[in-house]
Every structure is written in C-alpha cells, then in structure tokens.
C-alpha cells in the first residue's frame, strides 16, 4: 500500500517527503491514491472504479496494476 507520509491534493499533486520528489497525476490516478490513503484494498479500489466509470474489468485490472508498478518504481509504496 501507499506510504503513509505521501502527501496529495485534489489537483493530483503527489509529494514524497522522504525524498523531496513530487509528481503530477491525472484525476483517476489521484483518486486511486486517495482511496489507498483511505485504507481501501486494491480489489476494493478496482471495484469502486468499475462501478463509477464506464470501463470493462480487464482494462481496470490492467491500468490499476500498471499504475501500481509506477508507484512502486517511484518508491511510493511500502515494501
């Protein structure tokens, strides 16, 4: 899951206070990060997005997993 100290705002700005790195995310990515910070599991997040947006399950699975990979690569997830 996402590190506890990662700061975000409603515009999709993400800041890692441990490294000083900051990122701009799109609105869906910002929503995923917020859901993670609120303590939702990956499956819950996928279901939320599936219910909210007109998109098939396979696309959601693929996009969310890819996004998780990007978060991990940028050292934003707990080990």
């Amino acid at each position: 899951m996402i590190k506890k100290n990662i700061a975000t705002n409603e515009f999709g700005f993400v800041f890692n206070p441990a490294t000083g790195d900051s990122y701009s995310s799109n609105p869906i990515a910002a929503e995923i990060i917020q859901l993670m910070k609120d303590g939702h599991s990956l499956n819950e997040i996928k279901k939320t997005l599936l219910d909210k947006y007109e998109v098939d399950k396979m696309t959601i699975e693929k996009d969310v997993d890819e996004f998780m990979g990007a978060l991990k690569e940028n050292n934003l997830l707990n080990n």
Binding site: N5, A7, F15, P17, A18, T19, G20
Partner: protein
C-alpha cells in the same frame, strides 16, 4: 535607553551573497526575523563588492577586515577596534577558511565581552576533509575513500585504485567530478592554484545529494536538524532551490555526529544517498550553509537559537519542522550610489 531596549550587537561575516554565496546575509535575515529582540548588525566584509554591505535592512554598519591569511593577531586587532566603536555582543563567522583564526582568538574576544559559539579545534579537525574518512571509520559512519595528495603524479595510481569518475577537491572549497585522468589533472591544477595544497581525491558515490543544516549545543545535544534535498543545482554545485525532507535516518545521522563530537555551533553535512538508501557523508562544513534561512522558514530558526546560546541562554531542542518547505534563490540587481561604494572602498566602513 533602558537595558531591555538596548540592541544586541551582532557581527557577521560572509556577506558575499553571490552565485556561490556566503551564509552571512541568510544568517542576518534569520536573526532579524527570529530573535524577537532589537538587534544591531555589524557586517564584516573582505571585499568591497560583497552585496550584503549595500543591501537594505541587512547590516546597520559594515567594516572591512583582512583576509584570513593575515593571521589571528590581525583579526583580533581589527575586531578590537570595531568593538571599541560598536560594542559587539556576539560574533558569527561564516567561512570555513576564517574559522581557525576565530577559534584561536575566541577566548580573548570573550574577555572583551564578545561572545561566540564555535567548535573547539578538536571538533573542527575531526570533520576536516583530511580526517573525514578516519572519522567515519572510527564512528561507523559511511564516508567515501579518499587520498590526500600534493603531486599531480599521484593521480595515476589513485585512478587505478578508485576508478573513474572520481572527485578532486580543494582543502576548503571546490570539487570537480573527473571522468578521465586528463580531467583529474586539469582539476588538480585549477583547484591547487586557487586554494593551495593538499588536494583531496575522493571516491565517486552515485546518488541523490541531500544536505543537513544542524546546530549543536556543545554538550552532545542537537538543538535543531533540518534535512534538505537540492532541487536545482548551479554549475558551481550550489543549491538554487531545495526542499525540506522527512527522513529519520538523516536526522539520526546528524544527531550521532553531534553526540560523538559534542559539536558546538552550526554545521552542514553534505550527504550522498544511494539507490540502496546508504548515506555517505561527503563533507561536513563547520558553519551554517548559505541556505540556512530555510531552517527559519521551516520553523527551526538556527541562527537565532545560536545567538541565544552564545549569550549563555538555555535553548530547548526543536522537535518539529515543516516538511515540504522550499527555498528558491533569486538574483536581484541592487542599485547603489557610487558614493557608498567610494566610502567603503576608501575608508573600509559603511
């Protein structure tokens, strides 16, 4: 004037707020912001074009002093002269190269009533570039391997041992990353011509550059520790923008340094953080960094705290600071009438 409204007179060096800035202007700004008492700032300048001499609301009066090479006695006499006119309460030197003289005369200045808050020679020498590797070994702190050399011919063997790139550094200032023997030789000549000998050749560590500004109380306690990552670095390697970090490992490292040295005063640790989160100490500067105003901006005003400790007041260690606070340096063309320049150049004060 009542005792309470009498300003504290603080003398500060390092007014060269240029592209490779001295910390003086930032130190003064922090003191004016955070001491919450009337102050009178006496600038001490080496050159007649140090911007801090002419900037508004920085120094109330500035005097020219001789370069450190003139020796401790010349410095003492100059400060005594200025003290007779101004009644200095506290003095804050801000250059590595001048500290030896200031530490030498600190006890005599104290007799005059001029307080300082400086490391001892023992502390000062422990973190010297020449001793840093041994210091790291002794206290289980990671420091890149280095060699101290006096001849350009030594670079051949060091290049074979360390491999390239490697870092060629001056005793006080300057560091060049050399990718070939030719680049290392060029750096050797350039730096030795400017700063003299010896030259330090250091193993290159790949990673992210992080700096820490800290203040020790001289009894082993860290009063303040602010870690900062450089976000924009000039071609001289200076931070033009930086951001405060939340990183317990960095804070712990600075705390350990203060604890083992019982450091008295401000200092800066330059660190390279590797991809594996190893923290290599590249350098420890025995004074506040030029970006020290960020400590005030983040909620731990180190220069103001130093003044209080220099005056013998007990300062409680700071416990929190704002993470994600940035500084962004800027250039500003200050307009000065030539008469001020003439005054300082001709009479050595303004």
């Amino acid at each position: 004037m009542s005792e309470n409204s009498k300003p504290i007179v603080i003398a500060v060096t390092g007014l060269n707020a240029i592209d490779s800035p001295g910390p003086g202007v930032a130190v003064i700004r922090a003191i004016r912001d955070g001491l919450n008492r009337p102050v009178r700032i006496i600038g001490l300048a080496y050159e007649n074009l140090e911007p801090g001499i002419y900037m508004d609301a920085v120094c109330d009066k500035t005097y020219q002093i001789s370069y450190p090479a003139a020796g401790a006695e010349v410095l003492y006499n100059a400060l005594k002269y200025i003290h007779d006119k101004e009644g200095i309460d506290v003095i804050i030197p801000n250059f590595d190269a001048e500290l030896y003289n200031f530490i030498t005369i600190a006890p005599r200045l104290k007799l005059l009533g001029i307080h300082s808050f400086l490391p001892s020679f023992e502390m000062f020498d422990a973190r010297d570039k020449l001793n840093l590797y041994a210091f790291g070994q002794k206290h289980d702190l990671k420091v890149p391997k280095d060699k101290v050399i006096y001849s350009v011919n030594d670079l051949y063997l060091i290049g074979e041992e360390f491999g390239y790139p490697l870092v060629v550094k001056g005793k006080y200032y300057d560091a060049v990353v050399a990718h070939t023997l030719e680049q290392a030789q060029k750096a050797f000549y350039k730096i030795s011509a400017k700063w003299g000998f010896p030259i330090i050749v250091q193993q290159f560590i790949n990673g992210t550059e992080v700096n820490i500004a800290a203040l020790g109380d001289g009894e082993g306690n860290a009063i303040s520790i602010i870690p900062m990552k450089k976000m924009y670095i000039t071609d001289k390697g200076k931070a033009w923008a930086g951001i405060t970090l939340e990183d317990e490992a960095l804070i712990e490292l600075a705390r350990k340094f203060v604890s083992v040295t019982k450091w008295r005063g401000g200092f800066e640790i330059e660190i390279m953080k590797t991809a594996q989160d190893e923290l290599y100490i590249m350098e420890i500067n025995p004074r506040f960094p030029a970006w020290i105003y960020l400590s005030a901006g983040a909620g731990q005003n180190q220069p103001a705290a130093l003044v209080k400790m220099a005056l013998g007041e007990k300062v409680v260690p700071f416990t929190t600071y704002d993470v994600g606070k940035l500084f962004i340096r800027y250039s500003w063309d200050h307009i000065v009438d030539v008469s001020k320049f003439q005054q300082f150049t001709a009479f050595g004060n303004l």
